[in-house]
Structures are given as C-alpha cells and as structure tokens.
C-alpha cells in the first residue's frame, strides 16, 4: 500500500534552478540600479550616516552585498551540477534555504527603512 511520492527528475530540477539563477542575477542588477536611483531622489536631503536611518541603510547595503557574494557559489554549483547532470538535493536545499533567509532579512530592512 506504499504510495510513492512523485519526485521531479534531475533534469527538471536543474533546468528550473538554471532559469531561477538568470532571473536572480537580473534582479540583483536591477535592485542595485534602482536602489542608487532611489538614493539619488533624496539628493542633499539624504539623512546623515550617523542617524538611525543611515545605520539601517548601511546594514541593508551590506546585506545586499553579502547576498550577492554568497549567491555566486550557489549559481556556480547549479551550473556544475547541470554540466554533470547530477543534482545534490541536500546542497541545493541548503543554498536556496539560505538565500530565502537573507532575502527575507533584506526585505524586512527595506520595510523598516521605508517607515523611518
């Protein structure tokens, strides 16, 4: 009576992961581009770095930098796995779980910044 779970094939998992990586890096570029544009809209009215808002902004920018830095090994690992057609489900879960946590932290900081 055992019910077998339908697991997606290795090819499908890696294909989806590769598409995700293209979208992720395009989003990182757009995020930095629009982020600088948003700061430009402040102009001389940009709060000083010593203010609470300034500290939050620096923390957010460092978090974005960390997200980009930690995401390079993830993308390279996906490319390597796709090249050898051997996915490592455990490693992929760790990478994408970690990415989700950092993205949630950055989104939280963005909301915190927007509300002063």
């Amino acid at each position: 009576m055992g019910v077998r779970r339908n697991r997606p094939s290795a090819g499908v998992v890696l294909d989806v992961a590769e598409r995700y990586e293209w979208i992720f890096w395009a989003a990182i570029g757009l995020q930095v581009m629009t982020g600088v544009g948003n700061l430009g809209a402040f102009g001389q009215a940009l709060p000083p770095p010593e203010s609470a808002w300034g500290t939050k902004l620096i923390v957010k920018l460092v978090a974005v930098l960390a997200l980009a830095l930690l995401s390079v090994p993830r993308t390279l690992a996906v490319v390597a796995m796709a090249g050898t057609k051997r996915p490592r489900p455990g490693l992929l879960s760790t990478y994408y779980g970690g990415t989700t946590v950092v993205v949630v932290v950055i989104a939280g900081l963005a909301v915190w910044l927007a509300h002063g």
């Binding site: 890096w25 629009t34 600088v36 430009g40 940009l46 490319v79 390597a80 090249g83």
Partner: protein, 171 residues
Amino acid sequence: MAERAIRDRNLLVVFTLGTFDAAALIAALVVTLYASGGLAPLLSSLSTIAGLALFSALWLTTVWSTGRTLRGAFTVAPWTSVPLGIIIPRATWRGGVNGVVFLACVGVILAISSAFNGDVGVVGFGALIFLTVGAAFAFVIGLVLGLLFAGVDLALVSATRAILDEKKSRP
C-alpha cells in the same frame, strides 16, 4: 542541442560574475561614500535617468569584459582550464579595457545630458579630457579593479569547488 545547453550555461557564468562584479563595486562604493559623507553631494549633481544609464553602462561593459576574460576557459563545469598565470593577467588587462570603455559610455551619457541642457562647450571640453588624461586614468583604475575582482571571483570559484568536492567525498 547539448552544445546549446553548454553555451547557455557558460553565458550564465559570464552573466553571474559580470553582474556580481558590477553590483558589488557599486554597493561597496555607495557604502564607503555614504559613510564618509560624500554620497549626497555626488547624487544631487546626477539626475536619476543619468544615474540609471551609468549603472546600465557599467553592468553591460562588465558582463562583456567578463565574457572576453573567460573566452576559451570553460570546461564542463565552470572551473577554468586556463592556468592562473594566464587568467589573472587577462582579467587585469580586461579590467583596464573595461575602464576605458565605461569612461567612453560615461562621456556619451554626460554629453547627451549636457547637449539637452545646451552646454555644447562642456561636451567639447569633456571629449578633450577623455582623449588625454581620462582614458589613461580609467585604464589604470580598471587594471586595479580587474585584478581585485579576478581574485574575488577565483576565490568564489575555489570555494564552490571545495564545497562540491567535500559533499561528494562524504559517505
């Protein structure tokens, strides 16, 4: 079909490293300038459209430069088959070229912006600066950044390889 898949994967590596280098450079510059108080005067002298165009230009030239650096360096995985003694000088040189190409883009963007404002004299002066001191200065800055990011990118590639090898060797 397989060749296309390999080419797409190689392009993904180029796009990833190029985007990472451009984004990390700008994010690091913004943090440094903001912390030192130099960001507000710089941003207020730059329109939003010009700022977006400048980052787009840097993004484009850096991805192009990364593609030129990694040409012929791919194997089945993103590990380079080219010795470090070749890839590092190549990345450094490409960084210098990227600096000059990016400066040319900056010149074009600022010239269009100035021409719209009717400052034609500024355009001529800017072209003169670009053709003399500007290009040499941009090349040297690009060389240094190319070397720096070659080191960072190679460290990230090594880290990925170590993680994959370590996971593979586990029982």
